[in-house]
Amino acid sequence: MSDVEDLFAIAARELRTVVRTPAVVALAVVFGLTVVAVAAAGTGARGGYVPLVLDLVPFVEALVPLLAFALCYRAVLSDRQTGELDVLRTFDVSRLSYVGGVYLGRSIALVVVVFGSLLVAAATVPVLSPAKPTFLALNAAADSPVAFVRFAVLAVVFALAVAAVALAVSAAARTARQAIALAVGLLVAFVVGVDATAVAGLASGTFGIDAVPLVLALSPNGAFRSLVFGVAVETGSQRPPLAALVGLVGWVAAALVVAVLTAWKPVE
């Protein structure tokens, strides 16, 4: 088999594993219900697509990393602990095929859950929006389903970045305890750590306001938020948030490189 065929074989097993794991399925259902509940219960969906995006951003920022880590943080570690990594190596499966396959398989599940849930949430807008504009009404060009789709796509990219980081944790950790500690530490750093650093840096004068986008781009959460407010929701900014895009893509690339290098040591 070629490396690509190996990759797809592994991806298929990962996907089947996710579908057969009740805890992960339950978490995905909870994520979906939460997103739809926020849309249905909040004021966002009644105001339009952009207000719904504003309602959902904090939930997506908090819940997507949880979902991604739940899906990926033990993927490689489990195979190592059961000896399956060793056996796969006797079939000469490459590290790139293995890590790529695990990432692809788990990412497909993640993308379906995240994108699907957000699309269902978006479907509440035409149902819940009043026929006449409210005081929150935006002009039709600004508030369109396209804005929401852009947000959903960015949420998917965000999810893929966090999944890559979770996979790197899974490959680098040698015990479940290490994996949990790394996962919790990174989640805290992503969700509050970088924001707190930005605020502290500004307050202390360590850096100016111009450096804030760069600091935010250092975490997937900050980069995602910058992209949402720079691309999905038009805020009149003159500059596209390139640093955030580079940051998010950089997290995917760097994390996957770490996962490949730490999955196993090649036999000389």
């Binding site: 074989a9 097993r13 089947r16 399956e84 006797t90 000469d92 196993w264």
Partner: protein, 269 residues
């Protein structure tokens, strides 16, 4: 111990003879393997050569380095020093890419084989079969290892012994030229142990080189062509089981084993 040393020396001479006459390469050959975990030296200059069709049993006290040596032979770990080459065809040690996927693949049964929960025994073998060259008849493998009736059973519902047999089946995928089996009989009932060693004999008869570790010295004595006694990271004896027994004037391999390794280690097992 002096008789044991003689057995080791004889084995070394045999290898030298093979090399000097230019006979076919061994199926697998480990040369001067040394390895340490921190300050603990688990292997010190161990060499082992196994011919096609030969069954070599590694025996030794717990912690003597058997599993570590088997991982090196399966080429899933790299020793601190020494080399492992696989391939009776003379392709050498640099042919990993084509060797592992094809007939020169090393089939490996880890000491505690594990599988992805939720999949059936047949699904599990089908997954691994995708990585082997050529068509793989999963049903035939399941039949071979005596698991055909459990083929649709989830792997997490298999008994410990059945899990080990499934691990053996997985090792057999792709018709490997070399089988490395770490405690294949552990957890099996006596009848199944006999069945397992019968399978190993059949495989060796078909030309597969088998290296296994086992504490079941009765079946080892009946089945193995050679027994290598590992103690303190070194081979203290290596030869046909009959010769080892004779060398220390023991009644059987179990008794001879006690002569080759230190008494405290045997009692500590």
């Amino acid at each position: 111990m002096s008789e044991g040393d003689t057995a080791v020396r004889d084995a070394t001479e045999d290898e030298s003879t093979t090399e000097s006459t230019g006979a076919a390469r061994p199926a697998i050959e480990a040369t001067d393997l040394s390895h340490a975990f921190g300050d603990i030296h688990v292997l010190e200059g161990v060499s082992l050569s196994v011919e096609p069709g030969e069954i070599v049993a590694l025996v030794g006290p717990n912690g003597s380095g058997k599993s570590t040596l088997l991982r090196f032979l399966a080429r899933v770990r790299t020793p601190d020093e020494g080399t492992v080459s696989v391939g009776a065809s003379g392709q050498g040690e640099d042919d990993r890419r084509e060797g592992q996927g094809g007939h020169n693949r090393v089939g490996y049964l880890p000491q505690q084989p594990g599988f992805r929960d939720g999949f059936s025994a047949a699904d599990t073998l089908r997954f691994y079969a995708q990585f082997a060259d050529g068509d793989v008849d999963v049903s035939e493998i399941l039949t071979h290892v005596g698991l055909v009736e459990a083929s649709d059973r989830r792997v997490d519902a298999l008994s410990g012994g059945m899990t080990r047999l499934l691990g053996l089946g997985r090792a057999l995928i792709g018709d490997p030229a070399v089988l490395v089996l770490d405690e294949p009989a552990s957890g099996l009932d006596p009848g199944m142990v006999e069945r397992l060693f019968d399978i190993v004999s059949e495989l060796a008869d078909s030309g597969v080189a088998v290296v296994l570790s086992s504490h079941n010295l009765g079946p080892v004595e009946r089945t193995a062509d050679r027994v290598a006694v590992l103690d303190g990271g070194r081979f203290v004896a290596d030869g046909p089981p009959g010769e080892l027994v004779e060398a220390v004037s023991a009644a059987d391999l179990q008794t001879a084993f006690g002569e080759f390794v230190s008494t405290e280690e045997v009692e500590g097992r």
